[in-house]
């Protein structure tokens, strides 16, 4: 049946699959004419379309390097493909956008060519969290795109915006919440730790994790929907059927701008910031061009352009950006974000996943 279609239906992943084929077919012919070229893997669908329209043509104009953009498949399938191709000395893409967990997994097999930060002019302006390092300090990846998951509410039901993630625990919100269904995409353990346990370091030990699970179990009676499919929650949030939950800041902002009765709030503990890195496959022979590309993408003007056109949060410090305050607020916040503990999803993945499933299903 349509099992395949129903597969990875989380926002970032579902979008990736969509427009894949068309773009791949259309691009190469146009670009073959140019001499220098670079194959760039980006999440398919929305991201690829936005990059093809707004970012890559500018890059080619500025550097003379043609970009062949490749739509990455969902989940970690792309990591596996890169890994297997690299063993055969092939690089399906020279540079790829890679999730944090996948970047860590690639590190284990030395899949990423270390990045020379001296070739990135604005390397010093990057926020620390957007520099992904090997355990020995070499740089494995540089922040590509970032986005926020925040506390969202229906404005008809909640006249006052909530101020803290602890609203999720409020007994008054019984059966009113929509939350993401997986530990590794909801990052609710991190939210719990930051809100009640003094920070995500509390999750360092198994004991701390169990405490967070216990605290999180208290949220269960309030949850009406544990969603994998974003459309499901977005619709219910707009109609007020499920008036509170966690959702993407940028999309909620767009819906509010369309006149929908929704709002996105950065709680005082911070929004959840998830992101993807640029990484270079060790099989790529175009490390030089790849550095030029990453350098270009990390400029303040391009980061600004991406925030305006693609809706991503900038990877650079705020003071070097040319974003107006309202443009900045549309994609980010000054409140220190909650950074997911990606390391947990490589080292303790199965344990956490099993506890999590038992928590919400049991």
């Amino acid at each position: 049946m349509s099992e395949i279609l129903k597969g990875g239906i989380s926002r970032r992943t579902m979008l990736k699959a969509g427009v894949a084929a068309a773009g791949v077919l259309a691009m190469p012919a146009v670009l073959r004419a140019q001499e220098k070229s670079l194959k760039v893997g980006v999440y398919g669908g929305y991201f690829k379309k936005s990059f093809d329209n707004h970012i890559f043509p500018e890059f080619t104009k500025a550097t003379g390097i043609a970009v062949e953009s490749i739509a990455e498949p969902t989940g970690e399938a792309w990591l596996v493909q890169l890994e297997q191709a690299a063993r055969a000395g092939q690089a399906p893409a020279d540079v790829s956008m890679m999730s944090q967990v996948a970047t860590l997994k690639g590190q284990a097999t030395e899949l990423w060519t270390p990045i020379d930060i001296s070739k990135i002019k604005h390397g010093g302006d990057l926020l620390d969290r957007f520099i992904n390092k090997y355990p020995d300090g070499r740089i494995a990846g540089i922040g590509a795109v970032a986005w926020f998951i925040t506390l969202v509410t229906n404005t008809n039901v909640y006249k006052e915006a909530p101020t803290s993630w602890d609203a999720l625990w409020d007994p008054a919100n019984k059966d009113k919440l929509g939350l993401l269904a997986l530990a590794s995409n909801s990052f609710l353990l991190e939210v719990t730790a930051k809100t009640f346990m003094g920070g995500t370091n509390a999750l360092d030990t198994e004991e701390g994790l169990l405490k967070a699970f216990d605290k999180l179990a208290e949220v269960k009676p309030n949850v009406r929907l544990w969603y994998r499919d974003e459309a499901q929650f977005e619709q219910a949030l707009k109609s007020g059927e499920i008036p509170m939950g966690q959702y993407y800041h940028d999309v909620t902002g767009l819906a509010a701008a369309d006149g929908q009765p929704v709002r996105s709030t950065f709680p005082k503990e911070g929004g959840i910031q998830d992101s993807g890195n640029w990484v270079i496959s060790r099989a790529s022979k175009k490390a030089e061009e790849a550095h030029v590309f990453i350098d270009y993408m990390s400029q303040p003007s391009i980061q600004g352009l991406m925030s305006r056109k693609v809706g991503t949060a900038p990877t650079l410090k705020k003071d070097v950006l040319d974003l107006k305050p309202e443009e900045f607020a549309a994609v980010s916040s000054d409140i220190e974000p909650i950074i997911p503990r990606y390391d947990l999803y490589t080292t303790k993945a199965d344990w956490i996943n099993e506890k999590w499933t038992e928590l919400i299903v049991g």
Binding site: M1, S2, E3, L5, K6, G7, G8, S10, T74, G75, E76, V80, E83, L104, K105, A108, T109, A181, L182, S184, N185, R224, L225, W226, R228, D229, Q232, A236, S239, G240, E241, T346, T347, A349, D350, N353, T357, E358, I360, V361, G362
Partner: protein, 284 residues
């Protein structure tokens, strides 16, 4: 016409095509899945070729057992509901005029064109508090205020029965159309009421068809993945949902494969058991 047993290799020729298809599209993928279910999971990567039983061991817990139990129970319930609704309906349908039958069958076929996604979202709207059917009940004064009818077991069951019903009817239809009308006439002549004739004559005459239909709907419902997610709470998630979580989100192919193999084996065993019981009863 007498049927001769095939005695040369060429006589088996026509079997070749289905055999090849079966091997390519069933045996090979399924064997791959069985093989992967014994591979070793590498949490920091993907999986390594190996022979370990961990994946099956991990599955043998009360937690996964209860999820499996729920999935089977749900599929059985959907099958029973579908047949209970579809059998009398199809029987009455075959008594209608040709024209009425055609209209009904075309409508049922058009329901089949709806994808699971559309069915799921439609029911979630129908059952919602803000736009659902309870608003109608409020409008005609039967309820004081609209209520959400989902998420819940009833919603899941409704959605799944709705999805499987057209298949059930289309499977039952040919058998009921071909049912010898003289059987009923004899029953009526001997003084049986229509209802009694239906239960005492039609139903036993079609027992094998009914069992086959039950099994078909059961297998169909067992693979359900989307409707329990859209219409149910986490405790109504089927094993298919957990398999997908493992395969797509956790990149744990070996564990996902082990669960899938287990599900297939259990359902095959149940189907086998049903057939066995049926045969014994027929013989008795």
């Amino acid at each position: 016409m007498r049927r001769e047993a095939p005695n040369s290799l060429a006589d088996y020729g026509p079997l070749l095509y289905p055999a090849v298809m079966l091997v390519v599209f069933f045996v090979v993928p399924f064997s791959t899945m069985i093989a992967v279910s014994f591979f070793k999971r590498d949490p920091a990567g993907f999986y390594k070729t190996d022979f370990v039983l961990d994946n099956y061991a991990r599955f043998l817990t009360t937690f996964f057992g209860s999820v499996l139990g729920f999935s089977l129970m749900l599929a059985v319930l959907v099958a029973i509901c579908c047949v209970a609704i579809a059998f009398p309906f199809t029987y009455l349908l075959t008594k209608c005029s040709r024209k009425v039958q055609t209209v009904w069958l075309v409508c049922l076929l058009s329901v089949l064109s709806l994808s699971e996604v559309i069915i799921g979202f439609s029911w979630s709207t129908l059952f919602s508090r803000t736009a659902g059917v309870t608003n109608l009940l409020v409008a005609i004064g039967l309820m004081s205020e609209p209520q959400a009818l989902l998420p819940g077991f009833g919603a899941v069951l409704t959605g799944m029965v709705y999805q499987a019903l057209p298949y059930t009817i289309l499977v039952l239809y040919p058998a009921l159309v071909r049912l010898d009308p003289t059987l009923l006439e004899a029953a009526r002549t001997l003084g049986s009421s229509p209802v009694r004739a239906f239960f005492n004559v039609v139903t036993p005459a079609l027992r094998n068809t009914l069992v086959a239909t039950l099994i078909m709907v059961f297998v169909f419902a067992l693979g359900s993945y989307l409707l329990p997610q859209i219409l149910g709470r986490p405790q109504h998630w089927t094993l298919s949902v957990l398999i997908t979580d493992q395969a797509i989100y956790q990149s744990n192919m070996p564990f996902a494969a082990a669960m899938a193999v287990f599900l297939v084996l259990i359902s095959l065993a149940l189907v086998g058991l049903t057939l066995l019981v049926g045969r014994k009863e027929n013989a008795a």
